[in-house]
Symmetry: C2
Subunit: 187 residues, 2 copies
DNA sequence: TCGTTGAGTCAACACCCGTGGAGTGGAGAG
DNA sequence: CTCTCCACTCCACGGGTGTTGACTCAACGA
């Protein structure tokens, strides 16, 4: 194994460990030392690669934004697509799950996470959604759609409310989809 | 002013300062020193009155739960009542707003805040809601209703998404109420 | 083979935080 | 007026954190 390859591999291990701990314990409660420990590396190396704890978190958040892929959809498909994206992002792929949780967990307490959440996830993605919704209230309806999705995601994957975690995908679709359709298409 | 009265007044000032800072900066970023400073008091006094930073936060969270008053409602009134409670709790009364924000801001990163949110706010309140909804999916529907409300609250008052903050109460009612009715009454 | 480069380590610094214990001064009781 | 009590303060400790600079050693190029 070449030196450069080895370096990229440890850098990726550090980032993965950081994402996991940011996702589980939040920004403030994860320490550079514990991330380095989980990655099997000296704390100073984390600093050398990422510059600071803040920039390490920034890299983690950027990873999430880079790897979010929202499927395009017509107005009728929008609610089902949104729900499918949630399931895919939070249940199917492991690293995407950790990265998304890391962003969501900290978006209420960490300034840059809040910024990413507001600007990249909500505003930017919602602009596209608003375009496919159309009409006067398009931005508001897109915002409400996103807000409801965030609320359900938080309740199911972060707070782990029994009523939500105990539901299957089909349960959620049955209860949630008619409501979301009412949001995107009031007619 | 009697001595006991003076004591209760400074204790209340400390609690209010704590609620404001917990609400704005989160648990980890607020320090006993800064709370004491805002209350015009020595940091040691905060410890003497509340025991620890953890218990200070617990008192703040308990205040929220004690002062939440969910209006009872029939199934038809449920969505409108939920929305009205949100407006009342987050816009009308100053201290209730700060207290509710303090709980909500930290419910993803602070264990005891998450516990209060899950057990007292979601589960307990939702049990009552599920009772008035009735039917097979009652718990799930109550959970989804609560999750959507939390999502909208977070988007509007914590993340401050423009599409949500720019909407009037009537706008929100017009967009959200039909969807919530679809949740509580699928027929 | 030998010097160089760079991945990775080690020990320590400086800072800030929560917390504890001794001390102070003014209000209340007699 | 005097003694007592208690709200309140001062100061310092111990621990944990992010961060740094000097160091080690194996891989690479000539």
């Amino acid at each position: 194994m070449t030196r450069e390859e080895r370096r990229r591999r440890t850098e990726a291990a550090i980032l993965l460990a950081a994402q996991e701990q940011f996702a589980e314990q939040g920004f403030e409660r994860t320490t550079i030392r514990s991330v380095a420990g989980q990655a099997g590396v000296d704390p100073a190396l984390v600093m050398q690669y990422f510059g600071s704890k803040e920039q390490l978190f920034g890299a983690s958040a950027r990873w999430t934004v880079d790897h979010k892929m929202l499927g395009s959809a017509t107005r009728e498909e929008l609610p089902a697509t949104a729900l499918a994206d949630m399931f895919e992002g939070f249940e199917d792929d492991v690293q995407r799950r950790e990265a998304a949780l890391a962003l969501l967990r900290n978006c209420l307490t960490h300034p840059s996470a809040a910024g990413v959440m507001r600007d990249d996830v909500m505003c930017e993605a919602q602009a596209a959604v608003a375009g496919t919704i159309g009409g006067d209230d398009a931005e508001l309806r897109a915002g409400v759609l996103g807000a409801c999705m965030i609320g359900v995601t938080i309740a199911r994957y972060l707070l782990e409310i029994p009523a939500l975690t105990g539901a299957t995908r089909e349960d959620l679709e049955r209860v949630l989809l008619p409501a979301l359709r009412q949001v995107v298409d009031p007619g």
